[in-house]
Amino acid sequence: MKDLFSYYIGMFRLSVLEEFQYPVSAAFYMIDMVAEPIIYLVVWSSVAQSNGGTVGGYTAGTFAAYYIVWMLVRNMNIVFTPYGWEHRIRHVRLAMALLRPIHPLHNDIAWMAGWKVIAITLWIPIAAIMVWLFQPTFNPTWYQVVAFFVAIWGAYLVRTMFQTTIGLITFWTTRVSAIFELYFAGELLMSGRLVPLSLMPSWVRTLANYFPFQWTFGFPIEALIGNLTPAQLIYGLGAQVFWILFGVLIVNVFWGFAVKRFTSVGN
């Protein structure tokens, strides 16, 4: 356990150091990241205003709060993607990772966690400008802040597990983009990424209960800006733990079969 902790610290550090090598690239990446929530924010604020000031209980101010926090949650739940698995399988990287006495999943979790240091540092001034421009409305309580802090890491781990599962399909297919696009469509509709889940039709909300998506976007955002009770927050965090453990189980079962199929292509 001590060795694993030491590895996480080492990999986290390496990731931060590597990100520092390309600050301009990171800055441009953030600009790209801002585009998506601003489009959603402008559209939904306009809809709210033309609807007499609210849509489904959301005002222009609460929409602003939703999408500003959305940006932080988005940065936090960026994980090692199935495309990354595709790349590491088609090149030498996976063979090298398999030679190490540590599961590549630890590498991915620690690496992407380190990557967030730069992303969040760059998010702070952007968020400040957006607060000034869009005047968000939110007054979180202390326990909401605590729940939010835990929930964004929970979201990160839930997303890691499910994208790793999709990534492992590359052991069979070498390419995985089509399956990932399908996952992405589901996430867009059922997570609160496109629009707060409460504004979705009831059948989408019902369907969302059977998938992990809402715990990776909507829940962390609502935990900070919504009106969730302490019981609802605890339920949400519990749901994240459930999906993380379920994901760990799937990854482990898949992994057992996947490594037996590894043919070490291209090296």
Partner: protein, 322 residues
């Protein structure tokens, strides 16, 4: 005591195949054809502690597949392999902590950072105590003459320099078994020599067992007393390098420098090359002493050398027979 034991090891790949062109491509969407390729075909051998063994064969012979099976990267189709008492395919952590696989194209270090940063990560991966890590790291850096290069981003190093830092990264945990797959690939002659010296020194200092593949016979001659020759996945020869030469070489090479020009040497053996006073002859191994004595008797010879067949030629002959 055997460190590596391989018994009837097999690896068969299923490789999709189709004709070129759009129609064949569309057909393969409906029905895909597979071909079974036996990369390793029932090989058996043992390697003792501290041995340095050359694993030779032409491209596609099954060398790298065998190394990958022994290092736990690939699951064998059938047969048994044991390294340090572990079954490699189980990828036990304690097994992985005691071996390394160095490939000519390996990339374990962070491209954008100095190698020292990546070395530090390996300390955490292998759970090496701080004092041991620093001592080993500095020792390996000194052995490979890396000096300040470990402070430069890896992307700024030449191929040879990068290979050397990759090797340091692979050996920080002082593995007991080294699988080296073309470690000198693409390096210049000086760098190849330095690397060979390093492998000899590492083997001597730490008593490590080394299984090495290389297409450079100079590597094999400098490092390996024993060689295993593999072709089409089967072992053709397993024994001393000198034994390989004895068994597969039927001639010796005679280098002669005469004191006078224009002598016809064809009656002594096959003239491979002649330029004025100097010539190279190929003579039957069993005839070597008789022909040499005759030549010294009949001609004015300034200098004479007798050499075994170059190892490259021997290996070529082995492959041809395989």
């Amino acid at each position: 005591m055997s460190v590596i034991q391989v018994k009837n090891l097999n690896k068969t790949y299923q490789v999709p195949e189709r004709e070129a062109g759009l129609i064949a491509s569309m057909k393969s969407l409906v029905k895909r054809k597979y071909k079974e390729v036996k990369a390793v075909d029932g090989i058996t051998f043992e390697i003792g502690a501290g041995e340095v063994v050359g694993f030779l064969g032409p491209n596609g012979a099954g060398k790298t597949t065998t190394l990958k099976m022994l290092s736990g990267l690939l699951y064998p189709t059938s047969g048994e392999g044991s390294v340090l008492g572990f079954t490699p395919s189980k990828r036990d952590k304690n097994f992985l902590k005691q071996i390394t696989l160095v490939m000519g194209n390996r990339q374990q270090l962070s491209w954008d950072l100095p190698a020292l940063d990546s070395f530090d990560l390996n300390r955490a991966i292998y759970g090496i105590a701080d004092a041991d890590f620093k001592r080993t790291r500095d020792e390996l850096i000194a052995l490979l003459d890396l000096g300040e290069l470990v402070k430069k981003p890896v992307r700024n190093l030449s191929l040879g320099e990068r290979m050397k830092v990759e090797i340091v990264g692979s050996l920080l945990h002082l593995p007991k078994v080294l699988f080296l797959d073309e470690p000198t690939l693409g390096l210049d002659v000086t760098m190849q020599k330095r690397l060979r010296e390093f492998i000899v020194e590492y083997n001597k200092r730490y008593g490590a067992t080394v299984l090495l593949t290389s297409h450079y016979m100079a590597d094999v001659e400098a490092l390996c007393k024993r060689v295993i020759v593999i072709h089409h996945g089967k072992i053709l020869f397993d024994g001393d390098l000198s034994g390989l030469v004895q068994r597969f070489s039927s001639y010796k090479t005679l280098g002669v420098t005469l004191e006078s020009n224009g002598v016809d040497l064809s009656s002594y053996g096959d003239v491979v090359w002649q330029d004025g006073l100097r010539a190279t002859l190929r003579i039957n191994k069993t005839e070597a002493s008789r022909v040499t004595a005759k030549l010294l008797n009949e001609l004015s010879v300034y200098d004479l050398t007798i050499e075994d067949t170059p190892i490259d030629d021997v290996i070529e002959k082995v492959f041809a027979q395989g």
